[in-house]
């Protein structure tokens, strides 16, 4: 039986699936360090020397038994000639994209619709219209655009 098929069979077990898909943080970090160290072709003791610790502490991080401190992770990243991307809470990441979308695009769209209905006309707002000269805008008689800008 190949591994893909075996994984599918194992995931049919509900309790196993729950634990397997939880992606325990210490395991993910262990995986990351193993990958990085093998890519750089370092030994555990050499890495420990660069980070100023003992070899067993690197082995402990790699086993996924303990969660290492961010300070040590930063040192490891620096020892490999790189830097650490700061971790973030998942829900913050999602809501951030939502708010930026709703605040800018929807706000302008609402303004446009309310003013346009007042005039009884519909216009499509292009980006060029926003950088127009005010005097020219008055001449063109598009008052709804000025209100949308304010």
């Amino acid at each position: 039986m190949q591994i893909a098929e075996a994984r599918k069979k194992l995931l049919q077990n509900k309790e196993f699936k729950k634990e397997y898909q939880k992606r325990s943080l210490s395991w993910e970090i262990a995986k990351m360090i193993v990958r990085a160290r093998l890519m750089k072709n370092m030994t555990q003791s050499k890495l420990a020397e660069l980070v100023n610790t003992q070899q067993p502490s690197i082995a402990r991080i790699e086993s996924g038994e303990r969660l290492p401190s961010l300070a040590i992770l930063e040192k490891i990243a620096e020892a490999m000639g790189s830097y650490l991307i700061p971790p973030k809470i998942a829900f913050l990441d999602n809501s951030f994209t939502l708010t930026t979308n709703s605040s800018t695009k929807d706000f302008l769209a609402k303004k446009e619709i309310s003013n346009a209905s007042h005039l009884g006309e519909t216009y499509t707002v292009s980006t060029k219209d926003y950088s127009f000269n005010i005097e020219q805008g008055r001449l063109n008689a598009k008052p709804y655009l000025v209100s949308a800008m304010c």
């Binding site: 039986m1 075996a6 196993f16 634990e19 397997y20 160290r37 555990q44 082995a59 790699e62 038994e65």
Partner: protein
């Protein structure tokens, strides 16, 4: 590394049965190490997850979880790995009994051993 789970005539894999018999979290960790082995291959010899046993082309995957030690015996031939048997470690040496079981399984594969 291409990984296969060895199966009996009745399509039962001893390693898979062992994983399901453990507590779910321990089973998940065992599968996690197997996934890592699939990704890294023999380079995993440089970590403490993979170790070669003396003699035949027999290897063992070492999994630690909450003070318990699990072992999976496997055989590697021409960049293909066969997971043969698994057990919970209790003594310092790999028990000869377990090695014999694994070799008996490996003999059914018609591979050239040793």
């Amino acid at each position: 590394m291409k990984i296969n789970y060895w199966e009996t005539n009745r399509y039962q894999s001893p390693v898979m049965d062992f994983i399901l018999a453990q507590p779910p979290k321990a089973g998940a960790k065992i599968q996690w190490v197997i996934d890592l082995f699939e990704e890294q291959g023999l380079a995993l010899m440089k970590t403490k997850f993979l170790k070669s046993l003396k003699g035949c082309s027999l290897y063992e995957l070492k999994v630690t979880f909450q003070g318990f030690f699990y072992r999976i015996l496997l055989i590697i031939q021409s960049s293909e790995a066969w997971l043969l048997s698994a057990f919970k470690k209790k003594s310092n040496n790999t028990p000869v009994k377990e090695i014999k079981i694994a070799l008996a399984y490996a003999n059914t594969l018609s591979l050239s051993l040793c």
